[in-house]
Amino acid sequence: MEYESIIGLEVHAQLLTESKIFCGCSTIFGSPPNTQTCPVCLGLPGVLPVINRKAVEHGIKTVLAVGGKVHAESIFARKNYFYPDLPKGYQISQYEKPLSTGGFIEIDTDSVKKKIKINRIHLEEDAGKSMHPDDESDDETSVDMNRCGIPLIEIVSEPDIASPEEAYLYLTKLRQILQYLGICSGNMEEGALRCDANVSVRPMGVEKFGINTEVKNMNSFRGVEKALSYEIERQIEILEKGGTVVKETLLWDEKKQISSVMRTKEESHDYRYFPEPDLVTLAVSEEWIDQIKRSLPELPEQKKQRFVTQYEIPEYDAGVLTSSKELADYYEECVKYHPESKMVSNWVMGEVLRELKERKIGIKNFKIAPTDLTDLLRLIDEGIISGKMAKEIFAEMTETGKSASEIISEKGLAQITDEEELSRIVEEVLTDNPENVKMYRAGKEKLLGFFVGQVMKRTEGKANPKLVNEVLKAKLSENRDEK
């Protein structure tokens, strides 16, 4: 039987604010455990939360970027459960009245563009981190409260996602938007972006939803894809055998590439949500929304379309170049100095991205500045070096950080563009290969390549190929005319 899968994602994004959501503590990642805490985020008796307006602003930016509706009034609620890394015994979140509802994220699947609807976006505080020892014989768990109170937004999608691939695309797009807005690092490995999924399958053509499970602990983009594929297969296998899927929460194990049951429905928490009495209703005025709207940066989709029209490059190129704001900025800076936009696009998408991938670095840490790259490209245009040489010089530049012209002069790499010198070499070649000259003249014009090769050999590849061609053709026909 054919099955279709139905997936909804809940994404938690840590917001890049300087201080925590309800206190003044720093949010810097990676500080020694329990050094970025105060009585408020530690939940000591008698302390009270005060909302960080910046966190709300970041949340609103996200809502506007996905075209959702910011509610004029939203309410914080307490989500009650016991866990050592939750110092108050409840998490301050939003429940019945979230920050926003609606909106969508558009993904490009192989065949079509598809809108994944957003159900809601709400604000909440992060919990601390329990650190279990690697050694299983040691049963002591430590708690790091630095993360307590880091602002989060939770972005809940509708169950519009039909495959693990679409989930991957959705996540990538969402991260791209958050990074463009400058409100989340998007680093899944550091936990700045976290994803839980609700998954169900149903036989093709059946309208009723299947029983869904929740998959947690997917710590990378590929991990999400793999965990979802695994879960879909698992559910189909159960149905194929005539069984029923059990509503439960599963944990993905990245190392073992399997998921295992974390808790069943019977063990599920009753969070006893109720309005947080220590905070007042969060009021968001139209003026505030307008002000934030005006401050929104150009978003990925807008930038992509602009690149297509402004730089006249293919949509594919524009998509790759705008995949991150930094890369797009790099490209635009290059085009400023070297307006041959398609050539620049080829170089950025080809050589530059290859280098970044090999070195596992981001464009921010890339050694070659836009002007260094455009200097190189100009040398190609001016015929001083060939495209092939340029690639070698580029590789050298990334190694040494030297400029293209430095490398060229050091290594004597400049092309021979002097026509007289080339004519002399061509003459030599023709004189040394009388047989081939005869055959060429008899009509075997394919031999041109052989002569080019010979010239290149003698010039150690430094001859300008275009000029070599011209001179060779001229010499070969010139002599024939004489006859």
Partner: protein, 463 residues
């Protein structure tokens, strides 16, 4: 003191002499700060002798209820679970008292986590009524009320979630005021029911109450529910014309369960105000009988969440033995909390549970709105509403402790003000035949503290 006839050090040491005499029998204090208090008094005397400007409470001995955080001084909430907790911060009210040069002399006993009406639920033992040691002082700020009544402090702070300042003030023959919700910062007040809790003063007379209120009523950016209102000096408006004031009385507050002698004394008080020229009018607060049920649903719901942090992980009591996480939680909370606190946590957890939320918590919220509207309507007609503070005078120790429902009815006249968020004061208005004090409650519209002080002062001065 200004004339130099008496110095702060003398006052403080005489207060500690009195504490030495009276405290063993009443148990009003959980923690005494004799050395610190003497030092503060000395510093203040030094500054006075140098002619420095001093704060409004310079050198006066003030007691703080033990659920209000004091930096470096343990704050127990009358509970075993916080018996070793020393906060690294002052509550905003404590900071303000220190800024006014008050001398903090100790932390007063209370019902555990402010849950009780008799001060019998404290881990540190019960408090006895200053007028009859066989009787309770009221609760939950019983220690503060008893301390002020027995001159073991000039003034004290209590907290009032459903009557916990006013009822003990009434039963101990002193003045106690619950301000408008949001008028006093809750920062540093260990939460019982956040949407109802307010810190309030307990004093010997109305003037002191107005003075202490003026110091603690102010906006605090650390408390999101704090009102933006500027500070007021309530002592300035105590005197003056009272003839324009319209007093409302509601039958709902004089019905079944009200002790005859209490009723008589309160009616006498009202007659007196009428004689002073105030107009007395009948009003109705039709949903008064729903207040106790509403209060116990909402207060316990919030408490069940507020008290979740006492889990043995970070501070406070934790059993010694090695236990797994779930066992540690269970043992910490089973042993750390007393019976009444556990009863309320269970009740509050229940009313918030899936399947019961709508029937209890959500419904109680709706009733709370209706009760608030009752008051809004009443205050369209009158300026203040006068009722008894407590249906009876101080009852006997042990009389109601095993019957929570009867105990809860001790707050029948006080919880409404918390639900409505309005200010209310209890002033002494006589004694019953056993010599036990009776309190009269004056409620006003939000932010009308000045007016209820004025009425209270008029009553006090003419009684």
């Amino acid at each position: 003191m200004k004339r130099g006839e008496v110095c702060s050090e003398e006052i403080i040491s005489s207060v500690f002499d009195q504490i030495k005499k009276a405290n063993p029998n009443t148990n009003a204090y959980v923690t005494l700060l004799k050395e610190q208090a003497k030092e503060s008094a000395k510093r203040i005397d030094d500054r006075r002798s140098k002619g420095e400007n001093l704060g409004a409470l310079a050198g006066l001995p003030v007691a703080i209820k033990d659920n209000i955080c004091t930096r470096g001084v343990r704050t127990t909430c009358g509970s075993k679970i916080l018996s070793n907790f020393v906060p690294p911060y002052d509550a905003t009210v404590v900071r303000r008292l220190k800024e006014a040069d008050a001398v903090i002399i100790g932390k007063t006993n209370m019902d555990e986590f402010a849950m009780g009406s008799s001060n019998e639920t404290s881990f540190f033992g019960l408090v006895k009524n200053p007028f009859d040691s066989q009787r309770i002082p009221g609760g939950s700020s019983g220690g503060s009320a008893a301390a002020v009544a027995l001159h073991m402090a000039t003034m004290a702070l209590g907290s009032d979630t459903g009557g916990s300042v006013r009822q003990p003030a009434s039963l101990c023959g002193v003045v106690g005021m619950k301000p408008t919700y949001g008028r006093v910062s809750r920062f540093g007040l260990v939460a019982f029911a956040s949407s109802l809790d307010q810190i309030g003063p307990i004093t010997k007379d109305v003037k002191d109450c107005a003075l202490l209120s003026s110091l603690i009523c102010s906006h605090d950016p650390k408390d999101s529910t704090s009102l933006p209102e500027a500070e007021s000096n309530f002592t300035e408006s105590l005197e003056g014309d009272v003839k324009y004031i319209k007093v409302g009385i509601a039958d709902e507050y004089f019905g079944q369960g009200l002790d005859e002698e209490v009723k008589e004394a309160v009616m006498k008080g009202i007659t007196l105000l009428e004689k002073l020229g105030m107009k007395v009018e009948k009003i109705s607060l039709p949903h008064t009988d729903k207040a106790i049920a509403t209060y116990y649903v909402l207060a316990t719901a919030e408490a069940s969440s507020n008290l979740a942090r006492y889990d043995g992980v970070k501070y406070g009591f934790r059993p010694e033995e090695e236990l797994d996480l779930s066992q540690m939680y269970k043992k910490t909370r089973s042993e750390g909390f007393g019976a009444e606190v556990k009863r309320r946590i269970i009740l509050g957890t229940y009313v918030l549970s899936a399947g019961y939320y709508e029937a209890y918590y959500a419904k109680a919220q709706k009733v709370r709105t209706i009760i608030r509207e009752d008051f809004s309507k009443a205050f369209e007609k009158v300026d203040v509403i006068i009722t008894p503070t407590s249906p009876t005078t101080a009852f006997r120790i042990g009389e109601k402790i095993d019957d929570p429902l009867t105990m809860y009815l001790s707050d029948i006249y006080t919880t409404s003000a918390n639900l409505a968020g309005i200010p209310a004061i209890s002033v002494p208005c006589g004694k019953d035949s056993k010599g036990l004090p009776i309190g009269l409650q004056i409620m006003g519209k939000p932010l009308s503290e000045d007016l209820i002080f004025k009425v209270a002062y008029a009553l006090e001065q003419n009684l």
